[in-house]
């Protein structure tokens, strides 16, 4: 570990913390329907969309109606995406002549992008037409993010409400989030990325004749427009198979920093959006502080483990110490320009947020280094988490924390002046426990069934970790992977001839993503609906405060305990065994 490494960490969080209140306040204005500067250039588009949508966009919705619209909307987008991906042979902008992936892989991909997961069994540059990338996948990057943010806005309104049943209008929330938050940030972001060398064109692949006399074919495509939104919307699906390690997605040290900022920007700002909308910014800062403490701690673990290097390196005789002009450490599956620091930091933030894009190969991380992304996901993606979904997950966790605190002191728990009672606690538990349940059951089925084994690549505990990681990642809508795990076999023949899906992994993964996205989402809406009609009890001297350091500590403890109780046995079987064999030598 180096001084520069820690300095980069400080700079990263300093810049993020400076941006959070600014963007948070702006996001609150967007969802509270206040006037925005951007309405001048884009207001006509907003009004046009409402006109097209008809009367639906004018009625206020209670939680049931809001939830129903969310489900129907997502279902339609799922069907549209599936159809787009299955009709590639008639697409425009298909210079490489790709055919469609089989039905099972497409089911997995469609589930993945509609749920903001962006788990990928396919390699982008060998499977997807430019039309699929733009009109199919990038559209989902926008829309699934906007859905998460809309639901969060509705949930916050429930928490802040003074006895009103309605939580807002889904169509307005989605449209305003798309037009005034995601679109402008993505457009500016895309241009920043192009200035660094991320490509943006519709050309066919270019064959060059190299200095050393060898030919090389360079993949092309409309990359920057998709990478900007994939980072901002916590989507994470790569244009290329090796995701953000590929220089055309992430070419420079600066682009890497900008993309890391994009990853946490909106989920982090959501804390202050919440603070603003409930009229108490300290509540937002308390949640932000909790997230930052977690994030920095786990970065430290990953950084230390990766700087130490792996058994494979040490047994082979590699010197992994830092030296003048060399990063040292485990550089297997990492890029020189990112080194150890920025690979570890990216890995940490991409799994804090349910982003899941990678700039290094997680499967080749050391045992303990690989445990960090897994741990981040196992907290239920509430440390920043996905856009929208992260904070509504965190709010459920907060309710659990005040409930536990209430039990300890023997008072009826309350949050923001609203009593938390049996109905809310039941819904909170459904919301919080459903995802880990899906992850563990799916892992169990996959590990104990012969149909699960064709997906596994590495032998021994790493193979178990791959499976566990796959279902934890898909259930938590993260999308990063121990990428040896596969559900789509591509022999890289022209037009994808001979490619086939591993149906079991595709379907089990797809169902994990869909159920674990929508059950917690509906639970959060239900909790908000239930809280919205409650009277606000004014704070008194006996009120348990939720905006100070004590509460932050309590919240951290609750997150750790819930995750540990749920996942400890599974973690022992995979990464911990792997990490311990650092001392045991070298099993085959």
């Amino acid at each position: 570990m180096t001084f520069n490494g820690w300095l980069q960490l400080v700079i990263y969080f300093a810049v993020l913390t400076a941006l959070v209140p600014v963007l948070g306040a702006y996001m609150a204005r967007v969802y509270q329907g206040e006037r925005l500067l951007l309405e001048r250039p884009l207001g006509w588009l907003e009004r046009l969309i409402y006109r097209l949508l008809g009367p639906s966009s004018r009625t206020e919705q209670d939680w049931k109606s809001y939830g129903k619209t969310t489900i129907v909307f997502s279902l339609i987008f799922f069907v549209v995406l599936y159809v787009i991906l299955r009709t590639q042979n008639i697409h425009p902008w298909n210079p490489e002549g790709f055919n469609s992936a089989p039905w099972d892989v497409t089911f997995n991909t469609a589930s993945s992008f509609v749920t903001n997961t962006n788990w990928q069994f396919y390699g982008g540059e060998t499977t997807m037409t430019y039309f699929s990338q733009m009109a199919g996948l990038a559209v989902q990057n926008f829309v699934s993010a906007a859905v998460g943010m809309a639901v969060l806005a509705a949930v916050i309104r429930g928490f802040a409400s003074r006895g009103v049943r309605e939580l807002g209008n889904f169509w307005r929330d989605v449209t305003r989030g798309l037009l005034y938050i995601l679109l402008p940030l993505s457009f500016v972001g895309a241009l920043i990325l192009v200035s660094q060398g991320v490509i943006q064109n519709l050309s066919g692949y270019v064959t060059t004749h190299g200095v050393g006399g060898l030919d090389q074919t360079l993949a092309m495509g409309p990359v920057a427009s998709q990478i900007a939104i994939k980072q901002l919307g916590t989507n994470g699906g790569g244009f290329f198979n090796v995701n953000s390690s590929f220089p055309f997605e992430n070419p420079t040290q600066f682009s890497n920093f900008v993309e890391m900022l994009f990853i946490l920007l909106i989920p982090a700002a959501a804390t202050l959006q919440f603070g603003r909308m409930v009229g108490n910014r300290r509540q937002g800062w308390a949640l932000y502080a909790t997230m930052v403490v977690f994030s920095i701690t786990l970065f430290g673990v990953a950084y230390g483990a990766e700087q130490h290097g792996t058994p494979a390196q040490h047994v082979a005789g590699e010197n992994t110490a830092v030296a003048d002009g060399s990063t040292g450490g485990n550089l297997e599956g990492k890029e020189q320009r990112n080194g150890i620091t920025d690979s570890a930091l990216w890995t940490n933030v991409t799994t804090d947020a349910s982003n899941g894009s990678v700039n290094a190969a997680h499967d080749s991380y050391s045992g303990i280094g690989g445990l960090v992304p897994l741990t981040n996901m196992m907290t239920g993606e509430v440390i920043f988490g996905g856009v929208g979904s992260g904070l509504y997950g965190m709010l459920l966790t907060v309710l659990l924390a005040v409930f536990i605190a209430g039990l300890m002191v023997g008072r009826t728990p309350e949050y923001l002046g609203k009593k938390v009672e049996a109905r809310e606690v039941k819904l909170v538990l459904i919301g919080l426990l459903f995802t880990p349940m899906v992850a563990l059951i799916a892992t169990g089925i996959a590990i104990s069934s012969k149909y699960g084994s064709p997906s596994i690549f590495n032998p021994g505990p790493q193979g178990f970790s791959e499976t566990l990681y796959a279902y934890v990642s898909q259930a938590n809508n993260n999308g990063s992977a121990f990428a040896g795990f596969t559900g789509f076999v591509q022999p890289n023949a022209p037009g994808n001839a001979g490619a086939y899906g591993i149906t079991f992994a595709d379907i089990l993964g797809g169902l994990s993503m869909l159920t674990a996205r929508f059950v917690p989402l509906l639970s959060a809406l239900a909790v908000a609906g239930s809280l919205s009609v409650k009277r606000v009890v004014p704070a008194g001297p006996g009120t348990f405060r939720t905006d100070n350091a004590t509460f932050v500590l309590l919240l951290i403890a609750v997150i750790v305990i819930v995750a540990a109780l749920t996942f400890f046995p599974a973690v022992l079987l995979g990464p911990v065994v792997q990490g311990l064999t650092d001392q045991l030598g070298f099993p085959t």
């Binding site: 980069q8 457009f187 200035s195 060398g197 600066f254 590699e318 890029e335 020189q336 032998p459």
Partner: protein, 214 residues
């Protein structure tokens, strides 16, 4: 329900046109105007011919014909070896493929990975050892003996370049100081002086070497 269905279908069409066509196409247009070379992949030309991309690493090899009686069971006619007169990039599991990217994903305790590392070490020592007396396993920077995630890492570490400089100087008959100067000229430093890690761009450095002797 029906109202939601109809509105969703309308939204699917509208949002696909807006975010799936207008947004990427407008971004493409603006990028092509503002950053024409970069949006097309930072292609590098030598004597008017495109030799690759500044951002995508490539192999620098020489080909030896294999005598007919020594060809193995696959009948391979030639063998590719690192070209000693060029700086060598990092090991790649895709042999620097720019259009089919993947990684081998070997786990940290996987024996195959350990053997792969041993192979990298052996190759590096046999290529550079003869020109740098006293070069030992311990001196090799990690980037030279681990494979990159993208398979096309365009850079190597400064330490790696300085070791290879001995070979380049000897093979090309250029003073070592001059080679080191060219390394510095083709190093991309940390962004704003602190972000990321410095790296030496192998393609640009090798082109500079060729120009030096042209």
């Amino acid at each position: 329900m029906r109202r939601d269905l109809i509105a969703s279908i309308v939204a699917a069409l509208t949002f696909t046109v807006l975010f799936g066509l207008a947004y990427p196409l407008i971004t493409t247009g603006v990028s092509q105007v503002l950053f024409p070379n970069r949006s097309d992949g930072s292609q590098v030309k030598v004597d008017g011919r495109v030799v690759g991309s500044k951002l995508i690493g490539q192999s620098f090899t020489i080909r030896h014909a294999i005598p007919e009686d020594q060809r193995g069971k696959f009948g391979k006619k030639q063998i590719k070896e690192p070209d000693p007169k060029y700086f060598q990039p990092r090991p790649s599991v895709t042999t620097y493929s720019g259009d089919v990217t993947f990684f081998n994903n070997l786990g940290p305790n996987n024996k195959a990975l350990m053997q792969q590392f041993k192979g990298y070490i052996k190759t590096y020592l046999s290529l550079n050892g003869p020109y740098d007396s006293g070069l030992s396993r311990e001196d090799i920077p990690v980037d030279a003996i681990t494979s990159s995630a993208s398979g096309v890492d365009p850079q190597i570490s400064q330490a790696n370049a300085r070791i290879q400089a001995h070979r380049i100087a000897a093979v090309r008959h250029i003073p070592l100081d001059r080679v080191n100067q060219l390394i510095d000229d083709n190093t991309d430093g940390r962004a704003l002086g602190v972000l990321g890690e410095p790296g030496v761009n192998v393609l640009e450095l090798n082109i500079a070497l060729d120009k030096e002797q042209a």
